[in-house]
Symmetry: C2
């Protein structure tokens, strides 16, 4: 099925262990022992010049001495011996190497240089490399144990549909233990360590093609190749495999252009959020959630559609669940009247809207539960059902009832997502999970998982609409550095973003003539690429009402700017009409050093800063994504005719977002940042107007360019 270049790595037909050891718990002994004990069915070659036999297998003095094809060589040797081992591997025609060896980039600059050297040698020889300084990997279904993690000694995980990749070894071990404790079955498990060659993104792409993997879990600390990550996520999205990610670390990669509001607001974290949202990745906020969601995706179907039924034995907890569901954006639709009547016929004082509350009556009449559950799915038609049973999961009779219910409901409605919330021991939880129903003692946790499942349902119910790849851009070159406001607005106009008619003046007379021609009142602003903060330099006068004021304003601007910033190159004074009406926002774009062009829409005025009322996307975006960005703003009602104001031209705003995102994308490496602040969204039919703009280009060749 797949011809991924990682196949010889993750599904090797033969494995050699360089540094194979007979001493238990040595890193050269552990993988060998697991390969032998757990039934790896390929060839195993211990490499150890001092022994003829290791752990009962014939040993070889070197990889070359094996004389047979070696798909994978595990380097379980100290850093000092890695160079020799690599020479041996190259000579023996090894296809892939896992380097446990520590002492490289994680230590110091010298280690980093040694790491680059080794990676370069591997690359030249066509060898794929995992590590160094990594815990290795496992392909659980094929019993490939290329790891020395002590977590295996505490018990093995079940084979299953969930693949895990982690940059951190400690986290990977923890994840392995967590999966085992919860009964989550794994397909592959990879710890990428220093990522000299193979990165988390490579493993995601491999798992997207792996028939044994249905759910992909990734733990990400940083990322050096954004394009590769995007491609891997696009691949997973194309084959409809859900990806759940924990991303930690707000890295300081890339200094931000200080002049840009957009870049300062973005931060790496908001940009990763945008990436994940656009590629349909669920970003887990906590580690519990990471596993809860993956476990659910592994055992349960996605909900058939978006309505959620809540069934409870406690009215209060029903309300708690309904509030929580509403907060998560789930659709707690009411039951049809007929279905309500059916339940009320049995319990007159039951709550039947949704949540359906069968009350404590269920203790006396346990059959109430299947009645209500079947009615909710068959007549209520809910896509998902969460059943809160309080402490009932603890008694044998109710446990039997739950198992029966799980069996009947999943048989009758195989496309619905069912969850229980009740106290239950691990054995009972596993029995229910085996029937496709997870159990969480805390109902809030169940609902959070449901929100994630519903997110994937929505993702997979429409064709993927992903941003274009960098390779598809229409190259456009922005000059390095800042340009003045007039030039910035002119560039935006060329790309279809309108601004008011403006005039440039380099004398008092020209300024007066310009104001006269435009019609009063006008705004006058100093024109200088060196002064992105014009107001602070005294370079702005608003509401100029006549010729006398225009002359005075021109002189004041020149004087104040000369006093404040005597060395700044001034291109003159810009004269612009005062524009009344409309709603202000900020529209911007900047280049993220890892993920490329990003577009931002924010509320106007102080709200973008104080309320952080902003929305980000990777560029370019289409009209639909642009509308979604507008909807995300808490201040969006202002655009829709708030308190009797005219409705703003939202379609023109969406168009401007699309155009700026395209401009930013096409500028590629030459983009630093663009701010349109304010962008005035006029009443419907009157479009948008850029009232001020900043355009900063960059030289992609310059050292340390941001």
């Amino acid at each position: 099925m797949s011809t991924s270049p990682l196949d010889s790595f993750l599904t090797p037909r033969s494995v050699a262990v360089v540094g194979a050891s007979t001493t238990p718990d040595k890193i050269g002994a552990v993988p060998l022992r697991h390969l032998i004990e757990h039934g790896y069915d390929g060839a195993i070659f211990p490499i150890n010049p001092a022994h003829a036999e290791v752990q009962g297998l014939p040993a070889y003095p070197s990889l070359q001495a094996v004389g047979r094809p070696i798909d994978l060589a595990i380097f379980a040797v100290p850093a000092a011996r890695v160079d020799d081992a690599m020479s041996d591997a190259v000579a023996a025609g090894v296809k892939s190497v896992v380097m446990f060896s520590a002492g490289f980039a994680e230590i110091d600059d010298e280690g980093a240089r040694a790491q680059r050297r080794i990676a370069e040698r591997a690359r030249a020889a066509g060898i794929r490399l995992l590590g160094p300084n990594c815990l290795g990997f496992m392909n659980i279904g094929r019993a490939v144990y290329a790891t020395f993690s002590p977590v295996l000694s505490t018990g093995l995980v079940a084979s299953g549909p969930v693949g895990i990749v982690s940059q951190s070894g400690a986290f990977a071990a923890y994840a392995y233990g967590m999966a085992r404790e919860r009964g989550v079955g794994l397909s592959v498990w990879v710890a990428t360590g220093n990522e000299a060659d193979i990165q988390v993104a490579d493993c995601i792409a491999w798992m997207a093609n792996d028939p044994a993997t249905r759910v992909i879990m990734a733990y990400l600390e940083g990322c050096t190749d954004g394009e590769k990550l995007k491609q891997a996520l696009a691949l997973a999205r194309a084959v409809r495999k859900p990806v759940v990610i924990v991303k930690v670390g707000r890295s300081e990669l890339g200094a931000k252009a200080a002049a840009s509001h957009t870049a300062a607001l973005a931060g790496d974290d908001a940009v990763f959020d945008a990436l994940f949202r656009q590629y349909g990745v669920w970003r887990a906020r906590t580690i519990d959630e990471f596993f809860d969601v993956a476990h659910c995706l592994a055992v349960s179907p996605l909900p058939a559609h978006g309505s959620v039924g809540l069934l409870t034995v406690s009215g209060g907890v029903g309300v708690l669940m309904a509030d929580e569901a509403a907060e998560l954006g789930l659709d707690v639709a009411p039951m049809p009247g007929e279905a309500q009547a059916r339940i009320r016929a049995r319990v007159p004082f039951a709550g039947t809207m949704n949540p359906v509350d069968v009350t404590g009556q269920v203790t006396a009449d346990p059959e109430l539960l299947p009645l209500a559950a079947h009615t909710m799915l068959a007549q209520g038609g809910y896509g998902a059902l969460v059943i809160f049973l309080a402490a009932a999961g603890l008694t044998p009779a109710m446990q039997a009832m739950q198992l029966r219910l799980a069996h009947e409901l999943t048989a009758a409605h195989p496309d619905r997502l069912l969850m229980f919330s009740t106290l239950a021991d691990a054995a009972h939880q596993r029995a229910l999970a085996a029937r496709g129903c997870l159990t969480f003692p805390d109902p809030s946790r169940a609902l959070r998982v449901l929100a994630a499942a519903d997110f994937f349902r929505r993702q997979f119910s429409v064709p993927p609409s992903l941003p274009e790849q960098a390779s598809e851009r229409t190259a456009l070159r922005l000059e390095p550095g800042l340009r003045n406001e007039a030039d910035a607005l002119a560039l935006l106009r060329e790309h279809g973003i309108a601004s008011p008619a403006i005039r440039r003046a380099v004398s008092r007379e020209q300024a007066c003539a310009a104001a006269q021609a435009l019609g009063f009142p006008v705004a006058m602003k100093v024109l200088s690429a060196a002064l992105p903060h014009k107001t602070e330099a005294g370079g702005v006068v608003l509401g100029v009402n006549d010729l006398a004021q225009a002359a005075q304003a021109y002189d004041r601007i020149r004087e104040r700017v000369a006093a404040a910033v005597p060395d700044a190159a001034i291109d003159g004074v810009l004269v612009a009409p005062m524009v009344a009406g409309g709603v202000e926002c900020i529209l911007g774009a900047h280049r993220d050093p890892v993920l490329g062009a990003v577009v931002m829409l924010g509320a106007g005025g102080v709200n973008v800063e104080l309320m952080r009322d902003v929305s980000f996307r990777l560029a370019p975006v289409d009209r639909q994504q642009a509308r979604a960005m507008i909807d995300e703003l808490k201040s969006a009602p202002l655009l829709r005719g708030f308190r009797g104001a005219p409705v703003a031209d939202v379609e023109a705003l969406a168009d401007a977002i699309v155009r700026l995102s395209r401009l930013a994308f096409d500028a590629g490496e030459t983009l630093a940042a663009i701010d349109i602040n304010p962008l005035r969204v006029m009443p419907v039919g009157q479009g948008v107007l850029a009232l001020d703009a900043l355009v900063a280009g960059r030289d992609p060749e310059a050292a340390g360019a941001a």
Copy 2:
């Protein structure tokens, strides 16, 4: 120690069971069996006219036939037999009654009437009553089992310092099971059911006085007596017992005065939030958190002070923890340089700032862990320490290390809060809990618990500053209904909240004269108690610049209002100076039907609605609470001289909050709502100005008055 009227109820010296049964699992059999089996040391009297002996004890035909004092009678009989049982109890001089019997207010209006009748009879006879329709209670330390909950049949909880009270029986049973599963020891457990007499608040007050209870957990669905709840929380606060509450259900109690912005924004939930914040109650967002926090308070000390140390074996998870801690407002202070050097001397590439990352090196050198932990507490001086060990909690060697560490650290630093985050089985978790250290596999969960513990540390480190009780108010009577703007502003001025000089005009000539006297520009507004929404009725003209405009504005206002609202009684037109400068907010107060007067501060303009940038407190508040309200606003920076604007008179704002809160409090039952919108906060030294106001009084005697 306590003379609480609930003593005969929660610590009875004798218990009678009316409806005592020999049939196992009948509600009249269960409490009797538990009382006998678990060693209740008081007298037990089965009441059953048909048997001479029940469960091996001599039975009596009636309560009166017992002939000895009965502290507590359990009514395990159907609703139809409750009246007779109550007659018997009154005649027998019973002190307290627990009514399991269902079929009262939870069913219908007739049931509600029957419930009120029974409660009235009990009250008249001086009998305290729990229920009806309740699961009863347990006093675990004294083996009082006045419940028929089936949850007991799945195992008993340990005796301990945590008291639980719940309105819901299903939730109470669930909580009992949850406590047992987690090893949380309980003192008392009460399910209050229909609350005909005893409410959750009564039980909180009792637990505040109970020497066996150190931590109080309450599950609240609604509340009918806000004063009683406040008093109970004040009592718990006074004796420094932490209270953790789950409050569900945004009840619809009390229609809101539609004219009031404040009341509409409040909602019951925001008011309960304010209550809890002011009384030092931690409101748990989820049920897991409810138990996590209570468990921690039961086994660990509060942190000695606010700085938090984070120790990790994974750099990435360290960052995750630091981000989470920052979001929770915890102080992740850096380590002193000397302490950092000490750790780096052992692991040169360790992260030593805080988080301290001892890296995977800990596998090779486990003693790194105690070195780092001791250094962080002794030299770093942290008030709390969270140690993330990934999967290490699973191996016997690391389990032993953790136990040793817990022992050594708690012995050396008994006033620090220690938590582990690692995979660990239940037995190991309990062993660590017995040494005062909780373990959470998910570090985010540990940090959330730490935030709660730190909340209580802060609460208990200052003397309580609680709002006055209703009994302490200086009575003030607001006339029912709305008053016009001039009268509203006059009332506020009487109570020390300034507004601009205004004039009333009932003719065009008066209006012109008033404008002339005030000086142009002025604002003109229709004056009418019937028109709280003046702008919508065409009743407002701003920026009136001369006499001609004033005359025209007067006419236009009269005409437009007459056209829009022909029947409204008009008191004239108000003329006010236009006020420039300052920052706008909204200041309001309203009467919550349960919790009384509430004061609200919100951002000006659209932010109060769109961003919900508001802060609430129960009235009255002092200056310090008023300042805290200001600090809570996301838009607070606008008051502090945002982007070069003058700093606003924040002290005058705090003063206005205090004054309005006092006015609202003193108005008591006659308050409906007060809005000051906008309140303009002028630059420092210039105070605040109420630019518009609405005052709505209510008639406390009117039926259904909001």
